[in-house]
């Protein structure tokens, strides 16, 4: 049985894995014709259903292109030419709107059409390959699979196609197409002065990127401070939580500490409640008239009308954000590191003790290097997550305190919250898209530099 299966597998991989070029060149007439009339080779060799399916898809695509697609591509290049106009209607004595082109829809339909065309090319390739496969089978005198065999191969050789079909189309529709759309917007003038349907926007090339990096422009004056705060924030947020959380786990785990599970529950309970609840609570607690200031007034630390500007002074707000983030993040690290800490070989500590090392030396020479070795991938993910951390900033300070030096951003805004404000509140979609691309470039470079060197990436099958 096993032997037979192996043989079958070998032959099928032999045929279906040839490149499109060789399939086309070595194919006979029917195979070559399959590049124009999809499924022709299959129909010719009596695989009627499979061939008809391909043909139907081809006809559907051509119908779409003729009725809609070609004009969509044309509009995609021009992004619309007719502006919406007000025209005076003599008979009714009123101004009427003449519908113009909607640049946003032109762009969107263009992107969708391009993706459909890409799918069409894939179909073409698979049509020729499938015809060549059948042709080869006839030449070698092998059995031609009927449609029913194709279906049952979905459970075996092609199981990945069956299982991936839905999830991947979800990713294409809700992640890849929108992302392509937004990346293209970075090269247009789609800002608050060019809002469809009233106005058109157009391709502007790299102008938005140049404006972002131009010296003494209002955009670059906002960009650089926000970028540096984002990096400072990500570093502090990642490492304070990492080290303090690990220390907490060590302290709870050490022999001599009693009620271990009680302490764990106390700290874990603070992350069990939804983050937006705890963040909004923190915001009210440290409000100008909130309980924190009320407490300080009651015990006489500050005067009855004074208040500490927790979230209204730029520097203090930044410190507060990092402190609140410690409150949120430390239990997480404690939770994830407890198990790993218990796996550190005890002999290491005993040897250190014999050599007379104190607590700090053992922590920095044994615990930390060991943990870093194991948790580097998680650390990178946490760092990426912190650069993209929307919730903490937006729910805590909303990016405030406001400042006039920045272009629609506050002192504590990160690149992502600035991106949110630019797109949702300001409708400067093009600049928002530029920021998104910059964030991506920063994160991608960083991850590539570190992630590819970790063992779990190089050696993913080590435990199988």
């Amino acid at each position: 049985m096993a032997y037979k299966k192996q043989k079958k597998l070998k032959i099928s991989t032999l045929n279906s894995d040839v490149a499109f070029r060789t399939a086309y060149i070595q194919g006979n007439g029917a195979t070559k014709l399959s590049a124009v009339i999809f499924g022709f080779g299959n129909i010719f060799h009596k695989q009627i259903l499979r061939g008809l399916l391909m043909l139907a898809l081809e006809i559907a695509y051509i119908y779409y292109m003729v009725t809609f697609g070609i004009s969509a591509i044309r509009d995609f290049i021009t992004l619309g030419t007719n502006t919406q106009e007000e025209v005076f209607n003599e008979t009714k004595q009123v101004y009427e709107y003449v519908k113009g082109d909607n640049s946003m829809l032109c762009l969107l339909y263009g992107v969708i059409t391009i993706f459909l065309t890409f799918g069409f090319v894939l179909l073409l390739v698979s049509s020729v390959k499938s015809a060549y496969d059948t042709q080869k089978r006839i030449e070698l005198g092998k059995k031609i699979p009927a449609f029913i065999d194709d279906l049952s191969s979905l459970k075996e050789k092609n199981l990945h196609k069956l299982l991936l079909a839905l999830p991947v189309s979800g990713i294409v529709v809700f992640t890849i197409v929108p992302l392509a759309f937004m990346i293209l917007i970075a090269f247009t003038s789609y800002d608050k002065n060019h809002q469809p349907p009233g106005n058109l926007f157009d391709w502007v090339g790299l102008d938005n990127f140049i404006a972002m990096f131009q010296k003494d422009g209002v955009l670059s004056d906002t960009f650089w401070p926000i970028l540096s705060w984002t990096i400072v924030w990500a570093i502090f947020a990642t490492f304070t939580c990492y080290i303090l959380g690990m220390l907490l786990a060590i302290v709870i785990n050490r022999e001599g500490t009693r009620f271990k599970s009680f302490w764990r529950l106390v700290f874990v309970s603070s992350i069990a409640i939804p983050q937006f609840v705890s963040l909004l609570t923190m915001r009210t607690i440290f409000n100008t008239n909130g309980p924190a200031n009320a407490l300080l007034r009651n015990i006489g630390m500050i005067g009855p009308t004074e208040s500490i500007p927790f979230f209204t002074d730029p520097t203090l707000a930044k410190i507060m954000i990092i402190l609140v983030n410690i409150w949120i993040g430390v239990p997480f690290t404690m939770l994830t590191t407890t198990g790993i800490l218990q796996n550190i070989p005890k002999e290491l500590y005993e040897a250190a003790k014999v050599d007379g090392a104190n607590v700090f030396v053992t922590f920095f020479k044994i615990t930390l290097p060991y943990m870093l070795f194991i948790t580097t991938p998680t650390l990178i993910t946490t760092f990426v997550g912190n650069v993209n951390n929307f919730n903490v900033i937006y729910l805590l300070t909303g990016g405030g305190p406001e400042t006039l030096d920045f272009y629609s951003a506050g002192e504590t805004d990160l690149l992502v919250t600035w991106l949110y404000k630019l797109t949702i509140q300001n409708k400067d979609y093009n600049i928002g898209a530029v920021i998104g691309i910059i964030v991506f470039i920063i994160l991608a470079t960083l991850s590539l530099l570190t992630y590819r060197h970790t063992g779990s990436y190089k050696d993913e099958e080590a435990f199988q």
């Binding site: 075996e156 199981l159 992302l179 929307f390 993913e460 199988q464």
Partner: protein, 290 residues
């Protein structure tokens, strides 16, 4: 010698005391905000901030008012909306995540490595960068016309791209020994049979974990829900509903009720979260022995 052990004992006692006292102080700091939420949710006095800390009187009205019709707090409506969205989202996205994770872990095909790299790259774009386009795509298909359809749209947005976070589940599948699969192949099982009858039953911890994690998403998401639901207060989810209560025009009236809502929503979520932790620990320690 005896003196030595005595001093060591004393040193141990001192360090243990220091540890316990500092743990108690830290624990107090960590619990304090939750205590504040609980107290305020029972506070009798209306209005926002007070000049004193402990409430002057206690009442259950804040909780009762949450469920009263006619106020602009539609708490029960928001709760049901979120529950429906969460149930469908968790079923769909758990299916997506598990399918992709299994395929990437067990099946070998041409595009596999490429696919995993693409997933990694896509994860580095800010999540809501694509939101504007998603908004217009949904609008173009007419999903944002009626309130009910907005909830459908929300389910699609939450589960649509969820297949990308397959790494944890894949890591779990990687730990299931391959020789179990091979034994089944020798007995004539197809790969589909192995997936359905061997891998799935062996992976209960990760399945429950995936289900619970994706169930939690809609309860705590703020960004997508806000963009898609817009001003349609009736169809809000709990998260944006409660957030909107803290806006300037409402805060004076609903301040205490906001905290009552927070308490009500926190309890079920806290329980689910603690459950995921239990399953997560099981999953890490390896459900398959041998």
């Amino acid at each position: 010698m005896a003196k030595n052990t005595k001093s060591m004992k004393r040193r141990k006692f001192v360090s243990n005391s220091i540890v316990h006292v500092s743990l108690a102080i830290l624990g107090f700091i960590w619990i304090l905000p939750m205590f504040f939420v609980l107290l305020t949710s029972f506070r009798k006095e209306k209005g926002t901030y007070k000049s004193y800390i402990l409430p002057r009187g206690y009442t259950l009205d804040n909780y009762k008012n949450l469920f009263q019709s006619g106020s602009s707090l539609n708490f029960d409506r928001w709760f049901i909306n979120t529950l429906i969205v969460a149930i469908f989202t968790c079923l769909l996205s758990a299916f997506f995540v598990l399918s992709i994770a299994y395929v990437m872990s067990r099946l070998r095909f041409r595009m596999r490595k490429k696919f995993m790299n693409i997933a990694l790259i896509l994860g580095m774009f800010p999540g809501f960068m694509s939101m504007i386009a998603v908004y217009y795509i949904l609008k173009g298909f007419g999903f944002l016309e009626v309130g009910e359809l907005k909830l459908v749209a929300l389910v699609m947005v939450y589960s649509g791209g969820s297949g990308l976070v397959f790494y944890v589940a894949k890591g779990f599948f990687d730990t299931i020994p391959k020789n179990i699969d091979e034994a089944a192949f020798i007995d004539g099982a197809t790969k589909w049979d192995v997936f359905r009858k061997i891998t799935i039953p062996l992976s209960k911890p990760i399945i429950v974990n995936t289900l619970l994690t994706s169930f939690l998403g809609p309860w705590v998401d703020y960004i997508f829900a806000r963009v898609i639901l817009g001003q349609d207060r009736q169809y809000y989810t709990v998260a944006i509903g409660l957030w909107s209560v803290l806006e300037k025009e409402f805060i004076e009236y609903y301040y205490t009720q906001f905290f009552a809502g927070c308490v009500l929503i926190s309890f079920p979520i806290a329980i689910i979260f603690l459950l995921t932790q239990k399953f997560y620990a099981d999953g890490i320690s390896g459900a398959v022995k041998g």
